[in-house]
Symmetry: C2
Subunit: 348 residues, 2 copies
Amino acid sequence: MNQVARQPRRVVADKITLAHGGGGKAMRDLIEDVFTSVFCPPGMEDQARLMDAAITVPGARLAFTTDSFVVSPMEFPGGDIGKIAVCGTVNDLAVGGAMPLWLSAAFIIEEGVDIATLRRIAASMQKAAKEAGVSIVTGDTKVVGKGSGDGVFITTSGVGVIAPDRNLLAQTVQPGDVAIVNGVLGDHGAAILAARGDMALDTEIPSDCQPLNQLMEAVLAAAPDTRVARDATRGGLASALNEIADAAGVGIEIGEELLPLRIEVKGVCEILGLDPLYLANEGTLVVFVPEDQANAALAAMQTCEAGRDAVIIGKATKQHPRTVVMKTVFGGLRIVDMLVGEQLPRIC
Amino acid sequence: MNQVARQPRRVVADKITLAHGGGGKAMRDLIEDVFTSVFCPPGMEDQARLMDAAITVPGARLAFTTDSFVVSPMEFPGGDIGKIAVCGTVNDLAVGGAMPLWLSAAFIIEEGVDIATLRRIAASMQKAAKEAGVSIVTGDTKVVGKGSGDGVFITTSGVGVIAPDRNLLAQTVQPGDVAIVNGVLGDHGAAILAARGDMALDTEIPSDCQPLNQLMEAVLAAAPDTRVARDATRGGLASALNEIADAAGVGIEIGEELLPLRIEVKGVCEILGLDPLYLANEGTLVVFVPEDQANAALAAMQTCEAGRDAVIIGKATKQHPRTVVMKTVFGGLRIVDMLVGEQLPRIC
């Protein structure tokens, strides 16, 4: 009901207590002070009420997605759980060809969390939302006792609109289609690993966490017959490629020497025996485009900040359907299977 | 991509492991076996793609809401965390006058949770969704290590559509407007309290957890000038009334002898010194309607299963603005303030 930012009011405590989740004054003050004063939602009813002209275009569809974020640690080089919660959901909308419009944000907070930490997270979310051009319009706060959670878990959901002519689907990928990634692989996974102190590194690896919707718009403008896009989050590029190969019934062939890898990430993987193809990304996508639009798509990506390091990494094939293979630097072929689990838990 | 229910596949483990959250085969199998085989979402892309004719009606607006659910225990008389997660979000849409259409469901699961428990929760969600006439169209699964969560946390978000002529707002409540609740108060809070074993009760109190969208439609058809509705969840009826009084700048007067209370809940409250006005409900709402539409609204409620016990509990007043008072059975007046916290943590 109040469209302008409120003056922050003083929350009495410095740390979250169970009372902050109880639905009373303490909760209302916390929400107003820490969240709505930053996000400035369009109302304070139990639900946001929204409309956008793009939705009413005949043939347009809504895109709706959700993700929970439990990344540990909550703050790391290049981002934090708030930035990742916004970018992750924006990107899930974007890879479907949707224009992201609105986000919800639900917080499950462990008793004892510093309110100053929540403020940093909220500020980071708002910054990422602004960068992506979306609004955080509704939310929720729950508190669990010490030891029943771990810091802050955030679930964001997103609503966007898909223009009438767009129908990106993994099933439409055909032999000959070209696979392009927008930048270096595995930075997010390596950043989290480093931030956990599991490695003693001289160089700080920042997460690649970033919104990809503007990049996707550029690709779709340049390559209107783009078949499909996937953000290569948990499970890394390998999982994204396997899902596409599986759905389309095609083979996929990538070249090891084509894969863009930061030298530090390569080093980390070699030392620890990790495979960068399976490392999580939070700002990296792979698109499949018809061969005759590949150069246009690549050039369009490279004009975007998020696609500066874009490269072609391989193509879909008629051979070995539903299987992803990599031509190694030694000239051999290696099957890139899906992992059963993940190399690292709580990566996002 | 597969519109029909899949044959359940065997998940190798009986309990959730960290691998089930890793983005690989284990996660995909879990999601297909436990969740999508039950929810049957309209696609398996990173986002659901949706449209409904009601959205394109000129003047219609989307309603968008989210809630996290952390109720403990996860299963209790009258419901479970899955049912509550569906009903809670459906009801947040309904009280805004929206027709609920689609839900998302994001699960944060603690390592070691029985997969059989997840199956029961998923079945319960689907049953509640069917009853409410909504579809669970997209979701997410994360796993946290033992001791970093507590069983299952579920975040549901919901999208619905508000017909053009509807604008329920707490600010529109005027002195003289009549307050009606649809049924007995405090059942959910008392049910959770009992399920925790904090009390030794002969009678089982079931939670009131239920979808309220059909009830809301009946009220709005009978009383088209309904001012506002609120579901009286965390913080109970007292918090809902205080929020309305605050937003509208009116006083609210309720009668203690008018409040519908189950005899068992009354007893529990008397023994434990709890106030049923602050006990959480999960299927109870309060509406404010103009005096001349009150009887119509009441009658409409009583024709619905969820409104069988509906009663008028009080009215908005010019006196004592922003304050809720209750006429006690002894003829006195008691201020019904907002609590700072909650009487019971993790109630929903």
